[in-house]
Symmetry: D2
Amino acid sequence: MRRVRLGMVGGGQGAFIGAVHRIAARIDDRFELVAGALSSSPDRAAASAAELGLAPDRSYDDFAEMARAEAARTDGIEAVAIVTPNHMHAAPAIAFLEAGIHVICDKPLAATLAQAEAIAHAAAASPAHFILTHNYTGYPLIRQAREMAARGDLGEIRLVQVEYAQDWLAREVHNKQADWRTDPTRSGAGAIGDIGTHAFNLAQFVSGMAPEALSAELHSFVPGRKVDDNAHIRLRFEGGARGMLWASQVAVGNENGLRLRIYGSEGGLEWGQENPNAMAFTRFGEPRQILTRGGPGLGGGAGRWTRVPPGHPEGYLEGFANLYADAADLILGSGDGALLPGIEAGLDGMWFIDACQRSSAADGAWIARQSGSVR
Amino acid sequence: MRRVRLGMVGGGQGAFIGAVHRIAARIDDRFELVAGALSSSPDRAAASAAELGLAPDRSYDDFAEMARAEAARTDGIEAVAIVTPNHMHAAPAIAFLEAGIHVICDKPLAATLAQAEAIAHAAAASPAHFILTHNYTGYPLIRQAREMAARGDLGEIRLVQVEYAQDWLAREVHNKQADWRTDPTRSGAGAIGDIGTHAFNLAQFVSGMAPEALSAELHSFVPGRKVDDNAHIRLRFEGGARGMLWASQVAVGNENGLRLRIYGSEGGLEWGQENPNAMAFTRFGEPRQILTRGGPGLGGGAGRWTRVPPGHPEGYLEGFANLYADAADLILGSGDGALLPGIEAGLDGMWFIDACQRSSAADGAWIARQSGSVR
Amino acid sequence: MRRVRLGMVGGGQGAFIGAVHRIAARIDDRFELVAGALSSSPDRAAASAAELGLAPDRSYDDFAEMARAEAARTDGIEAVAIVTPNHMHAAPAIAFLEAGIHVICDKPLAATLAQAEAIAHAAAASPAHFILTHNYTGYPLIRQAREMAARGDLGEIRLVQVEYAQDWLAREVHNKQADWRTDPTRSGAGAIGDIGTHAFNLAQFVSGMAPEALSAELHSFVPGRKVDDNAHIRLRFEGGARGMLWASQVAVGNENGLRLRIYGSEGGLEWGQENPNAMAFTRFGEPRQILTRGGPGLGGGAGRWTRVPPGHPEGYLEGFANLYADAADLILGSGDGALLPGIEAGLDGMWFIDACQRSSAADGAWIARQSGSVR
Amino acid sequence: MRRVRLGMVGGGQGAFIGAVHRIAARIDDRFELVAGALSSSPDRAAASAAELGLAPDRSYDDFAEMARAEAARTDGIEAVAIVTPNHMHAAPAIAFLEAGIHVICDKPLAATLAQAEAIAHAAAASPAHFILTHNYTGYPLIRQAREMAARGDLGEIRLVQVEYAQDWLAREVHNKQADWRTDPTRSGAGAIGDIGTHAFNLAQFVSGMAPEALSAELHSFVPGRKVDDNAHIRLRFEGGARGMLWASQVAVGNENGLRLRIYGSEGGLEWGQENPNAMAFTRFGEPRQILTRGGPGLGGGAGRWTRVPPGHPEGYLEGFANLYADAADLILGSGDGALLPGIEAGLDGMWFIDACQRSSAADGAWIARQSGSVR
């Protein structure tokens, strides 16, 4: 099967998530990276491009030029990965969508609601696909959990407990990653945007339930910090289920503690990202079972979305790669992308961020979700 | 050292917590059970007393008679364990306090605020001690955690995440234990009273911080249930710390999942009741350490509150027994009972229950704690 | 039910295992301790007796006098717990057996084969019972595992992997516990006697299979140590199963790591003593299940041998207490003691020690077990 | 940095380990696969090559032709991955070594000692490198452990406990993977070759100690099986350390349970492959620490051999990729390959297999390792 021609915006030297996207695109050999506007600094852009083996004429100083030039080439890129800070998602996303080039964009969708809505409009008007890399949905057991919830293994879902705890911002810290994430003009939010949106997305993705309202308390513990570094959130779902979401970047001892627990009238599921190859499943009144990636008892294509047998752990990069593999299938017409987060997941996340901020400002007042609008 | 003469109210045949109290009192051989009003049914009271080897003349049909008679004997009981349902705590507690007999009472303090206040007044007027068996405070590593928090190992405490998840009430169930616990006239509350108060107490006991306000969402998932079976609670502590408390009796797959996590500016602690002999402690920027009961690195009397060496697990009963051992020391004058929960912890718990109910009725409004009053 | 009158030999101040036996006897209130020869030092014996509340006339300076005197009393002890160092088991055991008093003896049976055989002869000639406290057989899930093995849940058993790792003797250490255990004249052996016999016993107890031969390599890592502190052993069982046993007291980081894994043609079981309330069970081709003490899926009297519900951990002392409870039932005629290790388990253990020493001296030669003889 | 031109022998459609090698080579973008003799069946070879995007003229029907043709091209492959069954390693390895092309060969080295020695001679005579993919040495924490052992964090090493437990051969099974592995003419051995060599290699790699002798008991549990499916092995190391190795493919409930524990006079390390991002380290007398991949406390280049931050799990493929990345460095002259297993590790493994078979045939007799010879 031929490989999809891919470009990248952002992700130059020193970047974290750009390198992750490149590995994820490479693992299953479904993409070839052929163009980039890798940095807003022309020197760094060129140096980064050389390092990655891009042809010099396909290393661009700016994304707009890149969109134009690539759209004009017969061998131009078919898709672009946007891996810039949040406030720099909208402009390139719109440019590439308008050029008919598929967009694979890092999360959250944008730094502001206005930016998010602009992307949404561009996506609606474009024949190209828009994919948002809520990468944790790519873990095989998360997709398994979603199927189990959908087919009723949990009965009627009552409770969603989700948390995302880190500690790398427990003190004031300055580096490329921390700086833009704690600058509200570039990130739009703190923990709720950077990790809370992942947790919120995962809760919906697995439970299949839409949130109806939330109530939040945001807090900044580190002196001088301008964005939230801890969030305590209650959720109400359609149909009466309840949820709790904790996101923190100051929970000392936690590296990347994304954990999801879902309980229904008939069963419960528990999964944690740091050991993603196992998931606990309990049917009421029976012993707890440990389901493993690719292992027995998964009821159906146990080997889907995995590359190696059970007991040979896959991790973060392979989960991320599953999104890229699905994206390749979608782009090449061999898949429907049904599991890929898109513009709607992005708008959900923007609503989540905005509603958290408004609720917290109103001492935890419940903020309802109007369907069809970001606010 | 001589043994304390103990009586018991409640705890007849078929009871759960009464048997637990008796084992806890026996483990360290600091008490002898010599009298009881073990059941409100005279036949069951007598049969239960015979089974326990009580002298027939010290098996009473009612607690009031027991209090009078025992107070009049030179070899009368020095302490009484009250192990009845919540709504039956106040009357015997007051009777024994008035008789000058120490009271060891199961939690929560009472089924109503009025009952709780009546007990508090009786305790204030009595020379006898009042001890509330928030037994989870008896776990050695919980006491260790309290010391670590107090001496600053965590730095300034920022976050308290506490949860207590069970699943035994995930369906409608009828038995002696379930019946009174789900009957609001006997229990006063559901999950928040039965297990939420333990979680709330533990959060305070370990962190050493007083709650300032809470915001709660209570829910009953099982059709027809008259009390809450799930609670999502946010906490604000004096000094700015924040907390989250989840209590549930419908979380399928959880047996007795009491879990406490505390994070400060310098470190984090994580402990779970189901494997109580280990606790994770992380100093910021250092590897996570696993502290074990009686093991190395505890900084001080590592062997306190334990009976067997590290690696020989102690459990629920030994933790409970630590409260009884402390009570014996207090009663016999060889200890100050500083770690024992008492009337204040009981009133805190009653405030917690009441505030949860009022907050939930007001859609999660914050309920402040007025110091010195139950409400 | 009335309590069994119990005496104790050894277990005076400063002893470890004596205190454990007393708590174990007390937990279920089936015994009352009324006599003792608690120390070979008369002063310490008297002081220890006073501390335990024994009547002064029932504190003896020597066990022989105690056996005579107690046998002569109408209210004399019915059973005696022998908790002395290994080389001091035989003499008191024989004295009490000859006096018709039941013996509850700590393991291993003796320090030498000759002592062991003498006890065996005395036991055979006595109407009294002889019970050896291989206490780990008292854990509810170990008894569960035995049942599962017996009823074929594992299919034909192929493999027994058992290990017992500690680290408290990783360096030269001097204290009451270490001194006699590392003195071959008092202990008879090092790690193989102190902990290896437990592992060996557990392997047989759960698998229901008798060992046919073993091959051992013993080693002393700590300079100057006169007994083994590490043992690597291979086992052959009747019927063709194979086993591996590792016992070590120098495995740094291990507190009391007794772990048993059994694999058959149809399933596998894994259990570890440090978290004894859970056991993994896998049927071939199905997900791993986590069985919990008293929890669902145990197939039969789930609540046997436990005192508190699942999720309320029981530990080492409760497991030990199960042996005492069974002993009380046996002595009082209300149970058959079928699960209690006795003289045969003791002789098995002595064979194990001796065979390990002979095999290791012969560079790992296989030593066969002649049925019916110690060697 | 330019990419190394890579060829592959074996690894056509339906193969397992060939696909793994390709992903491993791709993850860090250090190789491009440009040629292959992917199957001994010409049709399958061509179809597989097309699927992988190889130019048709570089898909060969046989490895010998491939070695000749590629060596003759100016753009010929610089390295070849040999991923055939064991008995098919020697011929292609020798052909490519003689052609001056670097060889990256799957383990074990060969199916027979004679084959192994032939490879060794070819390697000695060739300027090309020979790399054996004992991939578990690529896990970052395994390399960390090796450094810790080497710099004395464990003190003098006393004990190496290593095990590798699987269950996929617990019954008779027929598929491409199982068939050749259980055919002695193609594999040369059963569990000891397929997984035991990994365990043996890891023990040496981390401890830095050479084995001096071993004693083994091999067994076949599944009726009709012609190779061992379980092995119980004792090891003696230079300097007096001892070891135990268990390899099994019939341990029901184990997927890929490779586990290493090393204990010295000053500390202990424990690591398991199924959760490879954490490792327990205990200094004697201190609490156990949990070291994490890329996390704090690793003492030195914490970020080496990893791609994503701590808490973002890497797995089997990333560990494997570390060998390929090192191989690329070695081939391009930017690294010395010091951590790469080579011909010596291969011969060690062959000695291990042969010695196990001879020892087991001799009822567990100790087989010494003559330095410098395979036997």
